[in-house]
């Protein structure tokens, strides 16, 4: 049977707790496995059921709950820290978890229909500016 494993990550701004997530999943009564973690939860089951559960979970806090697929199944001996798994990866997740606070605020602006500001850092450098830098280096 095909499985899908998902990382559920709660934004630092959200008032939802990992415990609430796991309890909500249990209460839904689907045949999925859920494991509470410090950043949220891990969810595993058939892809259609996992999608259904994720859709319901996101209703709890639409801008505060994020998810992505995880390659390895729950408790995989190659990955699980409890069994000295060999694959590092939490450093990335930790950084993205911190920045979810920014993304959440960005999403609020986007859903309000605000427009992006023009950023000119990709514009070509004016010749005079280049000349000034060259003269400074000389």
């Amino acid at each position: 049977m095909k499985r899908e494993t998902r990382l559920i990550v709660i934004s630092p701004l959200s008032e939802i707790t990992p415990d609430q997530i796991t309890r909500a999943v249990y209460a839904m009564g689907h045949e999925v496995t859920v494991k509470e973690t410090c950043y949220g939860a891990l969810l595993e089951g058939p892809p259609e059921t996992v999608k259904e559960v994720m859709d319901d979970l996101k209703k709890m806090d639409p801008l505060g709950i994020y998810s992505k697929i995880r390659g390895f199944p729950l408790g995989d001996p190659n990955r699980c820290r409890a069994q000295h798994g060999s694959r590092p990866g939490f450093s990335q997740l930790q950084r993205e978890w911190q920045d979810l606070a920014l993304v959440e605020k960005g999403l609020q602006c986007a859903l309000r229909g605000e427009e992006a500001e023009e950023d000119d850092d990709r514009a070509p450098m004016p010749v005079k500016e280049l000349q000034r830098i060259c003269e400074e280096v000389e």
């Binding site: 499985r3 998810s67 697929i69």
Partner: protein, 144 residues
């Protein structure tokens, strides 16, 4: 539509692409398939012997094996993509868990395909995050 995301394991991009109704092409899904079907039995490696040859489709023989190995997994995702979002300067895409040369080659391969591509920077403060999310939303909503 199938959207290639770069970095291909980004939580932020994966969630945003799904949130706005498209299918993110991520490295996690590929690894999931490999773990379940191919029985990767050489941890911490995620590639098979065939992948070593497949990597040559995307990078020359003189390119370091780490780059070819990454491209063996990421290259087919770029081939299948109908659009792409490249997030530059992600802090974790360089250093012990990243590879800058691979990032450059991935950008090159995406541009070479000529698919609709959005290039954004990793947000470090609220204003940048606001711009990034709005651009992603507009880009994804504009795709047919």
């Amino acid at each position: 539509m199938k959207i290639f995301i770069d970095p291909p394991n980004s939580l932020i991009l994966f969630d945003l692409v799904e949130r706005f109704g498209h299918e993110p092409l991520s490295v996690m899904a590929t690894i999931q398939e490999r773990v379940d079907n191919l029985e990767i039995d050489m941890p911490p490696m995620n590639v098979t012997l065939d992948d070593v040859k497949k990597g040559l489709d995307y990078a020359g023989i003189e390119v370091p094996s780490g780059i070819r190995g990454r491209l063996a997994v990421w290259g087919p995702l770029i081939d299948n993509a109908e659009a792409a979002i490249i997030m530059e300067d992600a802090p974790y895409s360089f250093g012990c868990v990243g590879c800058h040369r691979t990032n450059l080659l991935v950008e090159f391969l995406v541009r070479k395909r000529g698919i609709p591509t959005l290039e954004i920077n990793y947000p470090h403060e609220e204003g940048e995050a606001r711009n990034m999310v709005i651009k992603v939303k507009e880009f994804l909503e504009g795709l047919q």
